[in-house]
C-alpha cells in the first residue's frame, strides 16, 4: 500500500502542469481569434453600444458596412452591447486587458482609468484629419495629459424638457414657464388636474443624476462647481448645492413623477409621455428623433431648458452636454492591424458621418454646413442648446461617487432620504476615495 514518494511528486507536478496548460489554452483561445493576419486579410473587432433601433445607430452601422465594402481585405467583427450594460462590459474587458481593437468610449472621468492603464492608443499624429472640423472643446474630453485618445461622433444634451403643449396650455402656460417658481406652479396645477406632470423612468438610475441634477446644479451653482469639488475648493454640502438636490426632493414631494418611476426604464418613460399620460419628460436630445422628428404627431411637443432660479449662480441659457461615442483604438494594435484600424477611424468619423447624422436630426460636435434637408426640429434643438454647455454630473465625478448620488436620488424619490443627508453621503464618498 505504500505509495512511493516520487510517484506522489510526479502526480502533483503533472496535475499542476496540466492545470497551467488548460488555463493557458483558454487565455490564448481568446486572443488568437482577436486578430489574424492571413495572407493580407485583416480582422478587426469593434465593440459598440449601437444595438437599439435609433436613427443614429442605423447611421453608424451603415458606415461600418460601407467601410467593409470599400475594403474587402478588412473584416470588421462587431460586438454590439446594449447601452445600459456597455460601460460595465468595457470596464470589465479593460480589467482583463482584453479590449477590442476599436472601442466606443466616454470622455472625462470614464476615460481616465483606461488612459492610466495604458490601454488606449494616442492618436495625435492622425489629428490633421479632423482638426479643421472639430473645435477644441469637442475634443477636450478625450484629451488627457496633452494626448488625444478618441474622436467623438455626436453631441448629446442631457437636460432637454419635452413638453406637451396642449397640457401645459390647459393649466395656463402657453409658453413654457421661465422661472423655477412658475415651473413648480405648473407642476402643482397639472397634478391637481389629474395629469402626471413628469414622466420619469429611473430604473437604470442615471436619468435623475444625468438629466435632472446636471440641469439643476447649473441653475443653482453654476458650471465650474463640479470641478471645484474635485479640486477640494467646494463641497457637495454647500447650502446652494443642497438646494439643487432639494429641487428633486421638492418635485418628489409634489408627486410630480409617475408612481412607478423606479421600475420604468427610460424608454418606457418616453412611451408613457408619447402616449399622452404625462405632460413633461426630461431627457437627452437623442430622444428628439423619437418624440418629434419621426413622430407623425411631433408638433404636439415643444422643447425647453430648465428655467432660471431666483438667486441661482448659474446661467439659465446653458444646457448640460457631453460629446459622446468617442472612437478609440486599443494600444495593443501593431503593424497591419494598426494601419487598418486607423484607416477605419479616418473613414468612420469624417465630414460625411456628421452630415448624415445631422440630416437624421442628431446634434454633432463638428463644425460642418447644415444640409438643406435638416429638420426644423433639429434647428430648434441647435438654437436651444447653442448658448453654452454645462458639465454633466457623471462626466466629471468618478463612478463610485456617482453611484452613491444615484442611489441617494432614488432614495429621495421614495422618501427615505433628504437632500442634506444625500449631500453629506456623497461628500463622504468623495473624501473616502482612494
Amino acid at each position: 500500500m505504500k505509495t512511493p514518494r516520487n510517484m506522489k511528486k510526479a502526480v502533483l507536478i503533472g496535475s499542476i502542469a496540466l492545470l497551467t496548460l488548460v488555463t493557458a489554452a483558454c487565455g490564448n483561445g481568446n486572443n488568437s481569434s482577436d486578430g489574424k493576419e492571413e495572407g493580407g486579410k485583416v480582422t478587426l473587432n469593434i465593440m459598440h453600444p449601437w444595438t437599439s433601433p435609433n436613427v443614429d445607430n442605423e447611421v453608424y452601422r451603415a458606415r461600418i458596412a460601407a467601410f467593409e465594402k470599400l475594403h474587402p481585405e478588412i473584416t470588421i467583427k462587431q460586438d454590439g452591447v446594449a447601452s445600459a450594460q456597455y460601460k460595465t462590459k468595457l470596464r470589465t474587458l479593460a480589467t482583463a486587458n482584453n479590449l477590442s481593437d476599436i472601442n466606443v468610449v466616454w470622455p472625462g472621468a470614464d476615460l481616465k482609468p483606461l488612459v492610466d492603464g495604458n490601454l488606449l492608443l494616442p492618436i495625435d499624429s492622425e489629428m490633421a484629419n479632423w482638426s479643421s472640423i472639430l473645435p477644441e472643446d469637442a475634443l477636450a474630453g478625450f484629451n488627457q495629459d496633452g494626448k488625444q485618445y478618441a474622436i467623438p461622433t455626436k453631441q448629446t444634451f442631457v437636460d432637454i424638457i419635452y413638453y406637451n403643449k396642449e397640457m401645459l396650455a390647459k393649466v395656463g402656460y402657453d409658453v413654457f414657464p421661465d422661472t423655477y417658481d412658475k415651473f413648480i406652479d405648473a407642476v402643482t396645477k397639472l397634478k391637481a388636474s389629474g395629469v402626471t406632470p413628469i414622466a420619469l423612468g429611473n430604473k437604470e438610475q442615471w436619468p435623475l443624476q444625468s438629466s435632472y441634477l446636471s440641469a439643476f446644479q447649473e441653475r443653482f451653482v453654476g458650471s465650474d462647481f463640479l470641478k471645484k469639488v474635485m479640486n477640494k475648493e467646494a463641497k457637495f454640502t454647500d447650502p446652494q448645492y443642497v438646494k439643487a438636490i432639494g429641487a428633486i426632493e421638492e418635485l418628489s414631494n409634489l408627486k410630480a413623477f409617475n408612481t412607478d418611476a423606479n421600475n420604468m426604464d427610460s424608454v418606457q418613460a418616453q412611451d408613457y409621455f408619447i402616449q399622452g399620460k404625462a405632460a413633461m419628460h426630461i431627457s437627452s436630445s437623442t430622444v428628439d428623433s423619437r418624440i418629434r422628428i419621426t413622430n407623425a404627431e411631433g408638433d404636439k411637443y415643444g422643447i425647453a431648458l430648465f428655467p432660471s432660479v431666483t438667486g441661482g449662480l448659474g446661467d439659465a441659457k446653458k444646457s448640460s452636454g457631453v460629446v459622446q461615442f468617442g472612437i478609440a483604438l486599443s494600444s495593443e494594435l501593431k503593424g497591419k492591424k494598426k494601419d487598418a484600424a486607423l484607416e477605419f477611424m479616418k473613414f468612420f468619423v469624417n465630414e460625411d458621418l456628421y452630415k448624415e447624422l445631422i440630416s437624421k436630426g442628431v446634434v454633432v460636435p463638428a463644425k460642418v454646413d447644415i444640409p438643406a434637408d435638416a429638420s426644423e426640429y433639429l434647428k430648434e434643438m441647435m438654437a436651444l442648446t447653442g448658448n453654452g454647455t454645462s458639465p454633466v454630473f457623471d462626466s466629471v465625478i468618478p463612478t463610485q461617487v456617482t453611484s452613491v448620488m444615484q442611489n441617494g436620488l432614488q432614495a429621495i424619490t421614495v422618501g427615505r432620504m433628504t437632500a442634506e443627508q444625500l449631500a453629506k453621503d456623497v461628500q463622504a464618498a468623495l473624501d473616502n476615495m482612494k
Partner: protein, 291 residues
C-alpha cells in the same frame, strides 16, 4: 495487493480531469478572490495592499448589512415557501391521477426557463400600469389593494420573494417526487391497514420516510438563497434605494460598476463564509436529530 494498487491509480487518473476542471473554475477563483480582498484595485491600475481595510469598511457599511438582512429574507422565503410548496405539489402529483405527467411538466417549467425570462415575466406581472396583478385586483373591485409592487419599498422584497418561490418550487417538487416514489408500497399499505390516512399518514409516515431528502433540500435551498442574483438584478437592480439589495448584487455593483474589485472581492469572501456557516449549522442539526 498489486491489483488494488493499480485500481487506486486508475481511479485517481480517472478523476483527474474532473479535479482539474473543479480546481480551475472553483477553487482557484475563490483563492484569487480572497487574495484580491486585501487590495484596493480598480482593475486597471496596479494593486495596492490595504490589509483588512476592505473588511473593516464593509462591517461599517450599513448598505452591506441591509443586503445581509435581505439575504436572510430570501433564505427564509426559500425555507418557508419553496420547500413546503414543493412538498405539497409533490404529494399531490404523487397520487394516481389523470394527466399527472402534464402537471409535473407544468410544475417543473419555471425551473427550466432562464432566470432572465422569469424576471421579465414577473416584472410584467408587477407592472403598475398594465401588470396582471393590478389588473386582476382592479377587475374584482379590489382597487385599494393595488400597489406599486416593485417600486414601493414596503412591498418590493415580498414581491421578489414570491417570484423567487415560484421560480424554484418546481425543482424541490421533482426532488420530493423522486423520494416519494422510493417509499415502498408495503409501507403505505401497512399504514392504511392500520387506519392512517390523509394528513396523519403524511405527517407520521411519509415525511419521516423522506427526512434525508428534506435535509438535502434544505441545504440546497440555503445555498441557492445566497446565490440569488439575476432575478433581483433584472427586476429591480437592488433598488429602489437599496431596498432589495442582496449580497451578490452589492458585490456586483461594487466590483463591476464602481470598479472596486478589492471591495467586491471582500464581499464575495463574506458571502462564502456566511453560506458555509449556515450550511454547516444545518448539517449539524440534521445529524444530531438522526443520532
Amino acid at each position: 495487493m498489486h491489483t488494488l494498487k493499480g485500481t487506486k491509480y486508475a481511479i485517481f487518473f480517472g478523476l483527474l480531469p474532473a479535479l482539474i476542471i473543479y480546481l480551475g473554475i472553483a477553487v482557484v477563483p475563490i483563492g484569487m478572490s480572497a487574495y484580491y480582498s486585501f487590495f484596493n484595485w480598480d482593475g486597471i491600475r496596479p494593486l495596492s495592499y490595504v490589509g483588512l481595510e476592505n473588511f473593516t469598511e464593509i462591517f461599517k457599511d450599513s448598505i452591506f448589512w441591509l443586503s445581509v438582512k435581505n439575504n436572510a429574507y430570501i433564505l427564509l422565503s426559500g425555507l418557508l415557501g419553496q420547500i413546503p410548496v414543493g412538498l405539497l405539489l409533490a404529494l399531490i402529483l404523487n397520487r394516481k391521477m389523470k394527466g399527472a405527467g402534464f402537471f409535473r411538466t407544468i410544475g417543473f417549467l419555471p425551473v427550466v426557463i432562464s432566470s432572465v425570462m422569469v424576471s421579465l415575466i414577473w416584472s410584467t406581472v408587477y407592472n403598475t400600469e398594465y401588470g396582471l396583478l393590478n389588473s386582476i385586483l382592479g377587475a374584482v373591485g379590489l382597487d385599494s389593494w393595488q400597489q406599486n409592487w416593485l417600486g414601493d419599498t414596503a412591498w418590493s422584497m415580498l414581491s421578489i420573494s414570491v417570484a423567487y418561490i415560484w421560480q424554484n418550487c418546481g425543482f424541490f417538487m421533482v426532488i420530493f417526487l423522486a423520494a416519494l416514489q422510493n417509499i415502498p408500497n408495503e409501507v403505505n399499505e401497512a399504514a392504511e391497514l392500520d387506519g392512517a390516512s390523509g394528513l396523519r399518514k403524511v405527517m407520521r409516515i411519509t415525511i419521516p420516510m423522506i427526512r434525508g431528502t428534506i435535509l438535502v433540500a434544505v441545504v440546497f435551498s440555503i445555498s441557492n438563497s445566497f446565490r440569488v442574483f439575476d432575478l433581483i438584478q433584472i427586476m429591480t437592480g437592488g433598488g429602489p434605494a437599496h431596498a432589495t439589495e442582496v449580497m451578490t448584487v452589492y458585490m456586483y455593483s461594487n466590483a463591476f460598476v464602481n470598479m472596486r474589485f478589492g471591495y467586491g472581492s471582500a464581499v464575495s469572501v463574506l458571502i462564502l463564509l456566511f453560506s458555509l456557516i449556515v450550511v454547516s449549522v444545518v448539517n449539524r442539526l440534521g445529524k444530531e436529530k438522526e443520532a
